[in-house]
Amino acid sequence: MYIQLTITRFADKRDSTRRVAPLDGTSRDIVLNTANMSDIIVDPADATKCQFKYFDNPRDRRESWAYVHANNTVAEIIAASDTEFHSTMITLPIHKHNHPDEATVDHTMPVEAITYVDRYNPDPANHCWICYYNAAFKRREVLCHYSMEDIPDIAEHGSTTSSTTETTATTEQR
């Protein structure tokens, strides 16, 4: 299952450890896939936090792991791991050319294909970045017409259960 974590450090080689940028302050919320996590441990300095290795593309043996520090407990991650997906596939409205003003096209993919979901800074209530892999072969980063918080909700329930007017309206437009 996906889980929204408050990340304080994302030490990856791909993005030069900039996923938590200085502009974010001390942390940034990112949705991760628990299936891509390994070696989860309790933070030695604070039992309410955790550390783990994260693989963007676990199918590719050339992919090295990132080291992640999160302000969440190990129990939260285990609970998310034990949560069943609503379906083996997930359908998301993706903007053409990654432009928020362009029309969306529904993309359907296996739930395990999504590696992370990140906030879209200019309009976080209605859009988010989805990073997924087509098998072990190709990395895709696309702009989705849902907020980041909606994605775990859709994965678990099949639709958003958020009560915000904006999000509900977005869902109905599909």
Partner: protein
């Protein structure tokens, strides 16, 4: 898991995987190998299908199915039988004159299956392609009809 569908176009191997481009050829496909499913202008689905999703050298091939995206997702969500290991009566060396030997393949590793005679899915033989993780792909001729295999894994909805 294994999704039964009819394929009308498959842009790989010079297009020889599909002969009936109108009604489509019968295939069992693995839903984990399906990516970027879209509604096709013809009303079915187009997607990128990866023969071996665990091999980074394996690219996706354009595949068109007569079924809708919703139907394929429904068929992917069924509760499969024999998910742990599918028993396949396999002909050694893919030779029909030899005696079939049972092999056990995790359903997850099966990439695709289709009837030996593409015009008759009730015939006695079926081709099954499965992967040894990211390492190797094996094409195996098996005893038993394609329809029987579909029923055996409980794939049809």
């Amino acid at each position: 898991m294994l999704v039964y569908t009819r394929v009308t176009e498959w842009r790989i191997d010079s297009g020889v995987r599909v002969r009936n481009h109108t009604a489509g050829d019968k295939y069992l496909l693995n839903h984990r190998n399906m990516f970027e499913l879209h509604t096709a202008y013809t009303g079915g689905t187009w997607m990128y299908y990866f023969d071996n999703r665990n091999d980074s050298r394996c690219g996706g091939a354009y595949l068109r199915s007569v079924n809708t995206v919703a139907m394929l997702v429904t068929r992917a969500d069924y509760a499969p039988d024999h998910e742990g290991a599918v028993v396949l009566p396999a002909y050694p060396h893919n030779d029909l004159t030899e005696t079939p030997v049972n092999i056990y393949v995790p359903m997850d590793q099966i990439s695709r299956a289709w009837p030996y005679d593409k015009t008759d899915s009730t015939g006695d033989y079926t081709w099954v392609v499965y992967c040894d993780d990211g390492w190797d792909m094996k094409t195996q001729l098996c005893h038993g009809s394609f329809d029987a295999l579909v029923a055996y894994v409980n794939a049809d909805d």
